[in-house]
Every structure is written in C-alpha cells, then in structure tokens.
Symmetry: C2
Subunit: 102 residues, 2 copies
Amino acid sequence: MSITFINLFDVPAGTDEEFMRFWSSVNEYMRAKPGYLSHRMHRSLAPEARYRYANVVQWESPEAWEAAHDDGFRALVTAPDLPEFTSVPTLFEVIHAGSVEA
Amino acid sequence: MSITFINLFDVPAGTDEEFMRFWSSVNEYMRAKPGYLSHRMHRSLAPEARYRYANVVQWESPEAWEAAHDDGFRALVTAPDLPEFTSVPTLFEVIHAGSVEA
C-alpha cells in the first residue's frame, strides 16, 4: 500500500532561508532511499498561516518510510546548528480521490 | 498559477462517520466549481495523530478557490446538525518537487 507522509512546519518569520537549507539537505538524503516515490514541498501564500511549509511525500509503504529514518537521517536532524522550528509529521492513506477529468 | 489547498481536520474519536458524511457533501459541492482540479483526502494511519484527516486539493488559482466559497458553501458548513470538529485550512504554492523517475 503506497502511503502519503505529510510534514507541517512551523517556521518562525525571518528564518526561511536557513530552514530551506536544512530541509533541502534532508530532502536530498530521503529521496535517495528505497521506497521514496515523490514529493511536493509547499509554502503558504499567507505569511500568517499556522503552518507556513508543508511537504507532501509519497512512499511505497510505511515500512520503507520507517527504514529511511536511519542513523544518517538522525545525524542530519540533530546537527547542532539547526534552525529553530517544530514540525507535525503524519503518515496517511488516501481514502478518497477525484479530479475534474474523472 | 495553480495552487494547493491543504485542509487539516481535528476529528474527535468516534465521530468519523458523521465527519465523512459532512466532508463528502462539501466535497461534492466544491468539485463542481470552476477552477477545481483534483483532490486527495487522507486519513492518518495512527489514531492518535494531531490531525487525523487531511485533504489536499489542487485549484487553478487563488481566485477560483475564493470564488468557490460562496453562499452555497456557507450554507453547507453552517448547517445546525454539523459534527464537532475544527480545521486548519491553508493555501499553498509548490516550491519544490521531485520523483524517483526524475
């Protein structure tokens, strides 16, 4: 079962560049992992949004997603010079879908 | 510019059926609107997730999305017998994307 990982980021104003540098390093690492399928990283149109960044990622399975969070990942996200932000990471399954063509 | 609307839902345990009935009625209404492109509605794998439902919707433009929130929409979301839940609705633009084929 392919799954969707949505990670919502709470990024303080003024730290966007630093945050995106950090996020890019993690993204580069994760997309090389077995089971990674695709991602779309989003920035909110409104600067006052509750979550200003949202990454929506497709993985082959919950197991592949878990396995990707290995020692290399942990080293990236515990580096001492990280920007200050919090995130809400959640694994989802699609339960309903449609498009204008359907 | 096509945009992504992400709506996060905080649905109390035990109200899923009622919530999905409500959500389906709004979804049916919105997907008939000009500018609607596609949606994927997600449920979290873990029952203790901060947001147990997340709808990710593509619209042609912020203007189309705004225009779709008309009187008919407001009537649906202010009906007296609605389930109790809160949501975090946010308009996003995609700033980075990739896939395993790329």
